[in-house]
Amino acid sequence: MKTLFAATAILATVLTASYDAQAVTVEEVTSPGGIRAYLAQDHTNPIIGLSFLLQGGAALDPDAKLGLSGMATALLDEGAGDKDSLAFHSELEDRAISLGFSADRDAVLGSVSTTTQASSVAFEMLNLAMTQPRFDSEPTERVRRQIQVRLKSESENPNRIASRTLMAALFAGHPYGRLESGTPETVAAITTDDLKQWVKTRLAKDRLIVAAVGDITPAQLGQALDKIFGNLPATTKLVATLPAASVSRKGQEINVEKALPQSIISIGQPGIKRSDPDWYVAQVLDYSFGGGSFASRLMDEVREKRGLAYSVSSSMQAFDAAGLVMVGVGTRNDQAQQSLDVIRAEFKKIQKDGLTEAELNDAKQYLTGAWPLRFSSTGRIADTLVAVQKDKLGLDYLDKRNNYINSVTLSDTKRVAAKLYQPDALTVVVVGLGAKANDAPAATGKRPERERKS
């Protein structure tokens, strides 16, 4: 009786508004229970993808329990309700359902990918994982062991060393400066109570953002949303916002001496947040600077002209509480300082002059032309639609986005480049012997033999 009544009610109350962008039509669905989601229907293949995030991530973990969000998300699918880990995974694997959770600095992320046929089971399992995770001792200790082993094997990875050293220097005193995955010690300190408390405080509807893509109608999605998320608490009163981060502008160089044949260099400076009105100008700048692979200045100067590196690139990182401009390069020890000089010169050049007319046009043509490439798989579309909602870009964003890019002017690039790029404020981390090679008198000339041994 109750079920029948509910089904009728759903048909009546699913509200939708839609906007047709590119080949993807996006609509907003509100479930009978009041949960909103973006939906891009595609009935070509019997596949449904659902992505979501809950604001508040690893940056909220206490210092002594760092890694808590990572461990909790790894355990949500290790047994829930009356199903232990084996039973839970068998249900999923028998039906080719992929279900996963993770946490980044700012949010808890989840996704499920399922065939239409198995979707009802998939949604039920997703609900169980979030509302009744068991944290049985076997999977808890297993996952703890796995995290500790991973942390150990990554501890000497030069890229990891470079990135954690850089983040610690850029965000000293802020949660972003911590190693979000924790240390073997902090992971050892996490108790089952901590994990249960994490579920109680972190998972709530008031910080939930959902997108669905594929073989599902608005009415079916409305039902699914309530089934998956309906019995999460409306709010846990969690304050997910972080203190504003002041990114270091000290302009320091940190050398982490390691006997490596190639130095890894990571560079960071303050950037802008996603909500900044100059975001699109910064995207255009970054493409020409180092984000645009072979079309970028850094690739041209460091790799194509000089052969100093295989990989060099820049990016704009936008976290909730801060933005960063970052550059990474891997280069022979005795040429590390030369690479660094070339990169610093490029920071100065773009700060002084912005882009050329030709670069601006090239960047616009690439960024607008490549936009539809984002919509080539269920998972990618769902993730994009979650980001669109998180950043409050609107239902018509997929269609408007290219206009934002096209409206960037040459004077915009000069104005924004002048304040964005700060060659004197770069925090530089060199992992390897790159700094040492610089101190040695012979460094500018011949390559020391010892470095070629591996």
Binding site: Q22, A23, V24, D42, T44, N45, P46, I47, S85, L86, H89, E93, D94, R95, A96, T115, A118, E138, R142, R145, Q146, Q148, V149, R150, K152, S153, S155, E156, K258, A259, L260, P261, Q262, S293, F294, A295, R303, E304, K305, R306, G307, L308, A309, Y310, S311, G330, T331, R332, N361, D362, Q365, L367, G369, P372, L373, F375, S376, S377, T378, S454
Partner: protein
């Protein structure tokens, strides 16, 4: 496991070959052949007005002349330098200005070039790709600079990674005279000697329509692709016979080898073993599908037999990975890797694995296990068609090692036809009788 694909530029989160190949409608690919011997394939997916345009050459690192290791991969880099029509690296700019991404990658058996781009720009990238199939020009100065780039690539991918250093040694010991024992990136000493002439020799021998396969996936049909392929690729003359792909497949020495490497940069020990296994082209080909099912039973997901035994029940390993690579011109490989749990020695974890494998091979694979694994694999096949851009890689990676399109598409039927006895027998042949190489990666004191 260590990947043997090397690409021109590092991609973050690159979706490489789909692990699962093809259905009666696995991909729904459509194929044809040009008069000059170039195979063409369309994999329609109309979700977004974009295509992935790929040209696969039946030539890779295993086709290199002795002493010139790395030339296939070096040529891959040099292919972006230019032609008289698109000189000085401007093809990158042209593709980017049209909203396209392009890259390339090299393995032992093939070299592949691709552009992901809006379908209304497809003709442009076909023109560029066809142009550089025969009209490459190489400035000696650019060759010299790019040689430094590939050596940096080797430093990044191998010298800076202890596991990669060991894997190279393992392959050299395991494959002996088979060309798969030579690293795709090349040995550093030989890379330093690679010349413009070496690159041209490889190029002129192999870059020709009879050695190439065109695969376009996305918003395209074969009917639409055919006239474009005729126009841009159809006029390129044959150079000679298709590459015979000699692989010195003499593997009758069945010695098992073990290679140990200690490095101060290693904190967590690792163990892995590779067995030489049948592929679509070498060894007992009838065992390919049974081994695909065996791979799933022992290694797929946290309900698999080895994960349950070693990680959940005995707790000797923190993780276990299993993979079976059957898409090869010569033999394939079956691999198992493990990270020992804290306090567990490499010897203990290896002994535990060997015990569990022996149990599984003796009487551990039930008819129900096989039936269940089949259902799981079949249920997942629908996802192969999902990515409009990724499908070109899934199809191309099989075609280029000689798997016919019909067989790629027929995967569900081939899997259904496998019996439990075939799985048991194929597994025993590989794990018990095949040559294997074991890698042991250890910390070194003083680190």
């Amino acid at each position: 496991m260590i990947s043997h694909l090397f690409q021109r530029v590092l991609l973050i989160a690159a979706a490489m070959l789909l692990a699962v190949p093809a259905s009666a409608e696995l991909y729904g690919a459509q194929g044809s052949m040009l008069a000059n011997g170039m195979q063409i394939v369309a994999v329609p997916n109309h979700r977004s007005p974009v295509v992935s345009h790929m040209v696969w050459y039946r030539a890779g690192a295993a086709d290199e002349p002795p002493g010139a290791s790395g030339i296939a991969h070096f040529l891959e880099h040099l292919m972006f330098k230019g032609t008289p029509k698109y000189p000085d690296g401007i093809m990158d700019e042209v593709v980017a200005r049209n909203g396209g991404d392009q890259n390339a990658f090299t393995s032992h058996d093939y070299t592949a070039y691709y552009q992901n781009i809006a379908v209304d720009r497809l003709a442009l990238v076909m023109e560029i790709e066809a142009d550089r199939m025969r009209n490459l020009i190489l400035d000696p100065k650019e060759v010299a600079t790019e040689r430094e780039v590939i050596i940096e690539e080797r430093r990044m991918r191998v010298s800076n990674q202890p596991a990669a250093i060991l894997d190279e040694r393992l392959d050299a010991a395991l494959w002996l005279t088979n060309r798969y024992g030579i690293p795709v990136l090349g040995w550093e000493q030989e890379m330093r000697g690679l010349s413009r002439e070496d690159a041209f020799a490889f190029y002129h021998r192999f870059y020709a329509p009879e050695n190439a396969i065109l695969v376009v996936s996305g918003d395209i049909t074969l009917e639409q692709l055919k006239p474009l392929a005729e126009k841009y690729y159809g006029s390129i003359p044959r150079v000679g016979e298709p590459n015979a792909r000699q692989r010195s497949a003499d593997l009758d020495a069945t010695a098992n080898v073990s290679v140990t490497y200690s490095d101060v940069r290693v904190r967590q020990p690792q163990w892995w073993r590779k067995w030489i296994a049948p592929s679509y082209n070498a060894g007992n080909k009838a065992d390919v599908y049974p081994l695909t099912i065996f791979d799933s039973i022992v290694g797929s997901g946290s309900t698999s037999k080895l994960y349950r035994a070693l990680v959940i029940d005995r707790k000797v390993a923190a993780g276990v990975g299993v993979s079976y690579d059957s898409a090869a011109v010569s033999y394939g490989t079956f691999s198992i890797s493990m990270s020992p749990s804290p306090g567990v020695s490499i010897e203990q974890v290896q002994a535990a694995l060997e015990e569990e494998l022996a149990k599984i091979l003796k009487d551990g694979i039930s008819d129900a296990d096989v039936a269940r694994a089949k259902e799981r694999i079949l249920a997942g096949l629908v996802f192969a068609k999902d990515s409009s851009l990724g499908a070109a890689q899934g199809v191309g990676g099989m075609l280029v090692v000689g798997v016919p399109l019909e067989e790629i598409e027929d995967l569900p039927e081939r899997l259904r036809a496998v019996t439990a006895d075939q799985v048991r027998s194929a597994a025993r042949k590989v794990i018990v009788q095949s040559a294997s190489g074991t890698a042991i990666l250890l910390p070194k004191a003083g680190g």
